[in-house]
C-alpha cells in the first residue's frame, strides 16, 4: 500500500534528523509535567547548540553532554562536574564578549543559558536517577 510506504519513509527520515543520544534516552524517562517540560527545553536547546554553525558553540554543547553522561555513570563527582561547568562558563564568557553585539544574545542562549539549565535542572534529575 502506498500510504504505508509513505509512513515508513516519514518515520525513518525523522529518525535520521535527530538521532537519540545516551543523554536523551535518560532524560526521556523523567516523569512529572514541569520537570519533563524543563528537560524537553534543555534537550531542544542542546540539539540546537550541537547543530550550530559556530565551532565553539558546538564544542561547548558536546562537552556538556559528555560531562553529564560521565556524572550519570558516576565517573565524576558532582563537585567535579560543577568545577568543569565553571571552566566552560569562563571560556564561554570570553567568547561571548568577543562576539558582535547582535550575535551576543543568541550565543548566550546557546552557551551560558544551556549551562545554567544543566546545572540547576538537569543535574538534580540525573543525580536522583543514580
Amino acid at each position: 500500500m502506498p500510504s504505508a510506504g509513505k509512513t515508513k519513509r516519514g518515520k525513518s527520515s525523522r529518525k535520521k534528523s535527530r538521532k537519540k543520544s545516551e543523554l536523551d534516552s535518560a532524560l526521556d524517562q523523567v516523569g512529572g509535567e514541569s520537570t519533563a517540560a524543563a528537560m524537553k527545553e534543555f534537550q531542544d536547546l542542546l540539539a540546537q547548540a550541537k547543530g550550530d554553525t559556530t565551532k565553539l558553540v558546538r564544542q561547548n554543547a558536546e562537552e556538556l553532554e559528555r560531562r553529564l553522561i560521565l556524572l550519570k555513570k558516576r565517573k565524576i563527582k558532582k563537585k567535579d562536574f560543577d568545577f568543569l561547568l565553571e571552566n566552560q562558563k569562563r571560556a564561554m564568557k570570553v567568547f561571548i564578549d568577543s562576539q558582535p553585539a547582535q550575535a551576543q544574545e543568541r550565543a548566550e542562549k546557546l552557551t551560558l543559558h544551556v549551562l545554567e539549565i544543566a546545572a540547576t535542572k538537569v543535574v538534580p534529575v540525573l543525580i536522583a536517577m543514580i
Binding site: 565517573k75 563527582k77 563537585k79 567535579d80 571552566n87 569562563r90
Partner: protein, 134 residues
C-alpha cells in the same frame, strides 16, 4: 586655503598609516615571542595536571604547594613581561584557569577519577588553543 586643507589631509592620513604600521609591526615582532611564552605556560600547566591529577596517587601537599608557587611566579612574570599588550588579558585568563585547577586539586586532595583527569587536560588544551587563536 585649499592647498592647506589638502596638506592637512595628507599629513593626517600619513600619520594614521604610520600608526597602523607601527601597531602591526609590534604585533609581528612580539607575537612569536608571546606565542612561545603561552606554549611554555601550557607545558607547565599540563605537567602540573599530570603530576597532581593522578587517580589513587597519594597527595603530597608540600610538593603541591611548591609547584603552585612556581606556577604563580611563572604566570606573574609572563604577565609583567608581555610586550604584546593585547595578550595581557589573555594571560590573566590563563592564570585564572591555573588558579581554578590548583584550588580544585587541593580541595580534592588527590582524590581524582581518571575521567576528571582527562577532562581537566582537555580544558587546559582548549583554553591555550583559544589564547593562541586556534
Amino acid at each position: 586655503m585649499n592647498s592647506n586643507a589638502t596638506r592637512n589631509f595628507i599629513v593626517r592620513n600619513s600619520f594614521l598609516w604610520a600608526a597602523a604600521l607601527l601597531i602591526a609591526s609590534c604585533a609581528t615582532i612580539y607575537q612569536p615571542g608571546s606565542d612561545a611564552t603561552i606554549e611554555k605556560l601550557r607545558n607547565f600547566h599540563l605537567a602540573f595536571i599530570k603530576e597532581f591529577a593522578v587517580p589513587k596517587k597519594r597527595f603530597n601537599a608540600a610538593a603541591f604547594d611548591a609547584k603552585v608557587n612556581e606556577g604563580n611566579a611563572m604566570f606573574q612574570q609572563a604577565i609583567a613581561n608581555e610586550k604584546f599588550t593585547a595578550r595581557r588579558p589573555v594571560l590573566v585568563d590563563l592564570k585564572a584557569q591555573f588558579d581554578a585547577d590548583a584550588a580544585h586539586l587541593q580541595s580534592s586532595r588527590g582524590k581524582v577519577t581518571p575521567a576528571l583527569a582527562s577532562e581537566m587536560e582537555k580544558d587546559v588544551n582548549k583554553i591555550y588553543d583559544h589564547a593562541l587563536g586556534r
